[in-house]
């Protein structure tokens, strides 16, 4: 089988600010054409620094980057013509209208989608004559996306495209990204919402402290936990319970402790729960809380780092 053509490839990518702050500490990525890839991690994990190096805005301290087969400095203009970019925290000009902003960005590209089409795609047709200063957070993010897509790019970088949005606006943005993907385009997005990564991405790299700590499809990563279900329990004497013992219970593949909460990765809940109850009563522990749910990428992150994504 011929190797998949890589839209993005980087090797040992690292960035150290001012000679001391190691924001990114050696990242390897190979993202194929047509893939939707997510960099998932807490704030400060190095996602934005990684993206800004990949799009050629920051010079890496070390490592190599190839975007659409080209290194930065080889033929930047031609590469930029094929990229769409939405950066974190960009505030577009307040006193221009939505349509004027799109037309401005459109003028930079050789291949262009029609303004009408792009406004429809991002659901901004009704807002076309509004000043940017009058837009809601969700509308601003969609406008940023419109500016990223108006040059009909092959590859888009979206840095935290849904941060700070309400759930409805977030879903709307997901739909726009999915529509774009249907055209066979490549997407790299960063997020600290695990649900977003699970819903949108073919593959995910979990990033923490400037390194990739897990890489695979959301499904694979969750399966690596050892079960689709998570059982969480609180007892009156958590310190006295050895989590290694819990792992010996039937159908339990992993266990972890997170503060006072004990967590189990479980394949079959109906086998694990009775055994857990028996174990606790045998020890004389009193159960204070018990819940079960489907495992998510959040659980993957917790099992790898002992922290929640939101905690940072």
């Amino acid at each position: 089988m011929a190797p998949m053509q890589a839209a993005i490839r980087c090797r040992d990518l690292a960035k150290t600010y001012d000679g001391k702050v190691e924001a990114v500490r050696g990242i390897d990525l190979e993202i194929g054409v047509g893939e939707c890839f997510g960099l998932l991690g807490p704030n400060g994990a190095g996602k934005t620094t990684t993206v800004e190096m990949l799009v050629g805005l920051l010079v890496p301290t070390r490592g190599e980057i190839a975007i659409l087969g080209k290194r930065w400095g080889e033929d930047d203009d031609a590469v930029r013509q094929r990229l769409g970019i939405s950066l974190q925290e960009t505030k577009l000009a307040d006193k221009l209208t939505v349509e004027e902003t799109v037309i401005l960005f459109r003028s930079f590209y050789d291949r262009r989608r029609s303004v009408q089409e792009i406004l429809e795609l991002t659901g901004l047709t009704e807002k076309r004559s509004s000043w940017v200063s009058k837009l809601s957070g969700g509308q601003r993010q969609r406008l940023a996306l419109a500016c990223a897509l108006v040059g009909d790019p092959e590859l888009v970088f979206l840095d935290e495209p849904t941060t700070g949005l309400d759930p409805q606006s977030r879903r709307h943005l997901w739909d726009v990204i999915r529509d774009f993907r249907r055209e066979g385009k490549t997407v790299l997005l960063t997020t600290h919402y695990m649900e977003e990564a699970e819903r949108l991405c073919d593959r995910v790299a979990i990033v923490d402290h400037g390194k990739i700590i897990a890489l695979g499809s959301p499904r694979e990563l969750i399966q690596r936990l050892g079960g689709d279900h998570v059982v969480e329990l609180e007892v009156n004497d958590p310190v006295r319970i050895a989590i290694e013992d819990l792992e010996k219970l039937p159908s339990v593949s992993r266990s972890y402790r997170e503060g006072d909460v004990l967590g189990l990765a479980v394949k079959e809940v109906h086998l694990a729960i009775p055994a857990l109850m028996a174990y606790l009563s045998e020890r004389g522990s009193e159960l204070e809380h018990l819940s079960t749910r489907h495992a998510s990428l959040e659980d993957v992150f917790v099992s790898l780092t002992g922290r929640h994504l939101r905690d940072g």
């Binding site: 805005l57 203009d77 930029r80 970019i85 960009t90 221009l96 003028s107 590209y109 040059g151």
Partner: protein, 343 residues
Amino acid sequence: MRLDPFYRLLISRIRESLREPEVLFWVFVFPMLLAVGLGIAFRNKPQEQVSIAIAEGPRAREVATVLEADPQLIVRISNEEDARSELRLGKVALVVVPREPYEYRFDPTRPEAEVARVHVEGVLQKAAGRKDAFDAVEIEVSGPGARYIDFLIPGLLGMNLMSGGMWGVGIAVVDMRTRKLLKRLIASPMRKSEFIAALMMSRVVFMLGELVALLVFGFLFFDITVRGSITATVLVGLLGALTFGGIGILVASRAQRMETVSGLMNVVMLPMFLLSGIFFSTDRFPEMMQPAIQTLPLTMLNDALRAIIIEGHTLVSQAWEILGLSLWGGSSFLLSIKWFRWT
């Protein structure tokens, strides 16, 4: 450089400025208010009359009658004691004591006292029979072209080109940098040359507006006409706009915050506000400061504008100023290309 991005960037820049009401005020209305205010304050008034006192005495009445015939003098007769205190208090500029020899009491450090002395002396000597040694014709020249407002309008134009260039370019650049919009633009296939050219061109467009507004205003309200060629005036204005636009980009090339760039702008502009002859001639400053003053870009711009607008000189006669401005603008431009930060 491609035309469409340049045009779109230019239009966006102009739209943004026009949608900012304060910009319109500072650029167009403020210089006119300044011109009206200063034009009224320093209008050329007919010489004011001066009060003098004549000390009481046998000839006081006769002398008073002679002096009252001079329209410049307001004459009163007081006893000698009172007249002295009136002089001390500044109520009168001069006291005449009509005895042999005549006494003129006055404070020579007060200009109106000197005027009064010259007038009184002339009138009294003539009345006593002195003949003029030769005839002289008086021609008054305080018409358009020689008034303070004629001096002021080109200065205001220069000031406007400076502050418009500095604020218009510098603030816009730093604003876009703090919004991370510069970073977003440079991440797109926009070329740097397109951005810089559009920024400069927007200054040129506003320069034309400012120039026309001030000159038309000056013509309508103060009857000021451009004595040199309009083309030369526009070309000097263009050079001024580009020079200060270049200095504006340089000052804004690295600043990350509005406060930083405002401070830098003020540091750069304040010496020129004071020294470059906006409101009064640079000749008022001491000789030793002149070399520095004459090399300031605003001094060169003001000198060239005045030479063309008031004195009707040609563009070629201003070659020195034009060269100086080009050097200022060009070197600022080159330095800012080296230093400019897009992020």
